[in-house]
């Protein structure tokens, strides 16, 4: 367990801004998305042309999706070219057996209570990095590609369809793609639970103020800070 020494600036402004825009977008997208699949509000009274209830939910979903995409692309840029020690991809090498070595195993064993002393990282620990890769990186790409493919369907041969329409061929039909978009959307609430729990738990166990660090950017430096980026 680490001991408090000094403040350490971990999450730089671009990472924090990305985090909160992303959190907001995912929340809006998930709620509006569920509504589009199952419009539960009771119908309005009057002529159909007076109302745009369903149209608004779809509009908000699409508009938020574009903010989400822009934010996601910005984060990718930052991860590749940002020269940010804790926000870059450089340390994450799942194709290399070395990456799956002792630090990863130690962290995993600690999470499964097989190891008493928990390693402590300034940035993401290897298990956290893998989780983010699977849920956020892969999950976001999946939702963005299927989402844009569906968005282009109102105008086959148009701009969006020309760029992303091929995605539908992976799923066979548009309906299957819709189903998978809906299914994979659930990755985000599952991730949210894991994420919130892990953060709060680390804060209690390590006392490194990881929870507030995504607002302030500062964690507290702990006794041993292994040089293991990401």
């Amino acid at each position: 367990m680490g001991q408090l020494y000094e403040e350490q600036y971990v999450w730089r402004m671009p990472v924090r801004v990305y985090h909160w825009i992303n959190a907001l977008c995912v929340t809006i997208l998930f709620i509006t998305g569920l509504y589009i699949a199952a419009p539960v509000l009771s119908p309005s009274v009057g002529e159909a042309v007076w109302y745009h209830k369903m149209a608004w939910f779809r509009y908000i979903h699409f508009a938020t999706a574009f903010v989400f995409i822009a934010n996601f692309l910005f984060r990718l840029y930052w991860a590749l070219f940002g020269e940010d020690k804790y926000g870059r991809f450089a340390g994450f090498k799942p194709w290399s057996p070395i990456w799956w070595g002792q630090p990863f195993k130690d962290q995993l064993r600690a999470y499964f209570f097989l190891k008493k002393e928990e390693p402590n990282y300034c940035g993401h620990n290897p298990v956290a990095a893998l989780t983010h890769f699977l849920f956020i990186f892969c999950g976001s790409w999946f939702m963005v590609l299927t989402g844009l493919a569906m968005y282009g369907e109102n105008n086959p041969g148009g701009f969006t369809d020309s760029l992303f329409g091929w995605v539908v061929l992976i799923f066979g039909s548009s309906q299957s793609m819709h189903t998978m978009h809906h299914l994979v959307a659930w990755v985000f609430p599952v991730y949210l639970i894991l994420h919130i729990y892990a953060v709060v738990r680390h804060d209690i166990v390590d006392r490194s103020s990881v929870t507030s660090s995504i607002v302030t950017g500062y964690k507290h430096k702990v006794e041993e800070c292994p040089e293991y980026a990401d």
Partner: protein, 363 residues
Amino acid sequence: MKKETTYQELLEARGVNRRDFLKFCSLMSVYLGFSSAFVPRIVRAMDTKPRIPVIWLHGLECTCCSESFIRSSHPIAADIVLNMISLDYDDTLSAAAGHQLEAIRKQIMKDYKGEYILAVEGNAPTKDDGVYCMVNGDSFTNMLKETAADAMAVIAWGSCASFGCVQNAKPNPTGATPIHKIIKDKPIVNVPGCPPIAEVMSGVITHLLTFGKLPELDRLKRPKAFYGTRIHDKCYRRPYFDAGMFVENFDDEGAKKGWCLYKMGCKGPTTFNSCSTVKWNEGTSYPIQAGYPCLGCSEPGFWDNGPFYTRLADVAFLGTNTNADKIGMVAVGAAAAGMAAHAVGTAIQKNNLKDETAKKEEG
């Protein structure tokens, strides 16, 4: 067997006057999405070009495509098509049968090598050497390959030939395979639908005749002119969709008033076809207009995207038939339970550590 009659000669012989003939040409031009400038080209093609020989094969199918085809709203369309087929080869509509009919097929393949159109209704079972569909003592798969070898182009009529339809729905016991996965070296046009709209079928033939090539196709090899928009985008009930006024039951007020059928499982938003524009039975109606949700019959794998009357499709998952929301909620529940258990574990571990530290201090 060689014939050089043009469509116009044929129609004259059958007593169709010039006025009706021109009306047919204009209609086809509209369906194909051409400007009026193209009407003379269609007229000229019909006037002068010899009829394209067509061999029409039937594989695993229900003949609903043929049934639709012979009911083209415009009488001349039916005439053209029927004559063309009955004079060449179609095992359902031909007068001849048995060896005589097979001889005709062989003759056409010889006389019009590389010039005839192969129209296929239904698909081929590939499992167990194709024994699930036998024609004239041989498997349909072999017959299809043999006939396609010398064809100019292949038209896959209907969802069976295009995508597989009901016979290749899971678990696909006969290994039913759509045409484009068997015939790889010929230009293929898919004309899906269960059945396809009659006017769409005659439209494809008219295009072939006028321009001597297949119409412009989309990613799934469907003619863009007919499969270029979703039913949803040209549906006359679309305002109810946007307003959020949905039918909740087949016998509720919304159903009576003709509201949107989205919540009744309408697949209009994911189905590319001309039902909401060309319509059926001489432009009388189409499923949604009759108060019935679109089943998406012209989409690949539509049988596996059921049930028909719910928006959310069933997903086969770990041997159960569930849906995306149920899987998602179970996953969320499992994550919450897992984290709760982990929290207990963490508390116990922390307590143990505290005890150990206390013991050390005592010792």
